[in-house]
Symmetry: C2
Subunit: 210 residues, 2 copies
């Protein structure tokens, strides 16, 4: 089993944090995405979506998508559980992971890619294209995060972590969401104190010392 | 166990198709989102994200998010399997479900919400707000779908379904993605014949007769 990744890619880092929480190590193959190796063979055929990370199994099966890799690792190494130990807990964690990802992480990811000069020509993950950076997409990402934070804040007044009393994979996505929010200039600490408390708590975990 | 939903909501329909494929039926509670019932009690407290569907368990646990509901139902009713029977198959299905959702379904969902007059004032799911409909978000959604289709087309030349030889939950999301593409004016049949073949195949399934 080999993990193809690049240490500076945010989605690779989500998997690294997950592995650190699990105490896992894997053989790694570096794909230098700053030098375009994701568009060259052999990686290109392995993942036509041109993104890292990718987990290659010994039988040649390719698992792209950071969260799909984490799910697979959870099945091989159930403890400590980050996706939940019962069907009900798994459902609640999955719900919060999806809310965080679809309502906050992804809108902010697109905001950053349409904002930061380093992403010019790469607004869509895994592409080199002439699609322009669009300021309206930055604004919409920030507006969607505001909506999300308004919903999240009362929840985190009552709960230590996103899915309740236990740290989960949803909090890992949450950490990277907060980093994206900072990267597009949002400061949430004053208006959303419970969210800031949660963010400080998870940031103090050793697994997040990237 | 009760399913709170509205028959015309696309995400409710994803769960309906999933249930039909499984041969499942659940007690349903209608939440009329066209009359704003998602913003009124008791639904408002049950899901502060104001979206349907929501599955309420007998112990009061609330599972929002269509795919989290489907995952939970799969755990209770494993056959026929729509998320995969082995860790490896589950990982590949999850990867394709995520690619379809993050690279196509979600960009097109935002395209439609920023395009169709009926979504004016509701560009962000579960909100009534003064955020405007933004034409650039429509264009970007269509452009992202084009990128996705270019990657998908050779894959569907070699595979019957998204995750290989078996129909899966990824294909359900795929069906609704294709419907969104049509709703924003895309015609994929000529340029992407393998994708059109796959779409015709899944559309013929009885579960999709909504």
């Amino acid at each position: 089993m080999k993990l193809y990744d690049f240490p500076l890619a945010a989605n690779a880092q989500r998997v690294h944090v997950f592995m650190a929480e699990k105490g896992l190590d894997l053989e790694r193959v570096r794909v230098n995405i700053r030098q375009g190796e994701q568009f060259a063979e052999p990686f290109c055929s392995m993942n036509p979506f041109h993104c890292v990370p990718v987990l290659e199994l010994d039988d040649g099966t390719v698992i792209a998508e950071s969260m799909s890799i984490c799910r697979y690792l959870e099945e091989l190494h159930p403890s400590p559980s980050l996706f939940g130990r019962t069907p009900e807990k798994r459902a609640v964690i999955d719900m919060w992971a999806r809310r965080m990802e679809l309502d906050a992480f992804i809108p902010l990811l697109h905001a950053l890619r349409n904002h930061a000069p380093m992403f010019a020509g790469r607004v869509v993950p895994g592409t080199n294209s002439d699609l322009p950076q669009v300021p309206e997409i930055v604004t919409r990402g920030i507006d969607m995060m505001q909506v999300f934070l308004t919903r999240l804040e009362p929840h985190l007044e009552r709960n230590a972590f996103l899915a309740g009393e236990d740290f989960s994979v949803a909090d890992i996505t949450g950490f990277f969401t907060m980093r994206l929010a900072g990267a597009v200039g949002m400061d949430i600490s004053k208006a959303f104190p419970n969210t800031a408390r949660w963010h400080a708590d998870i940031s103090a975990r050793p697994s997040f010392k990237l």
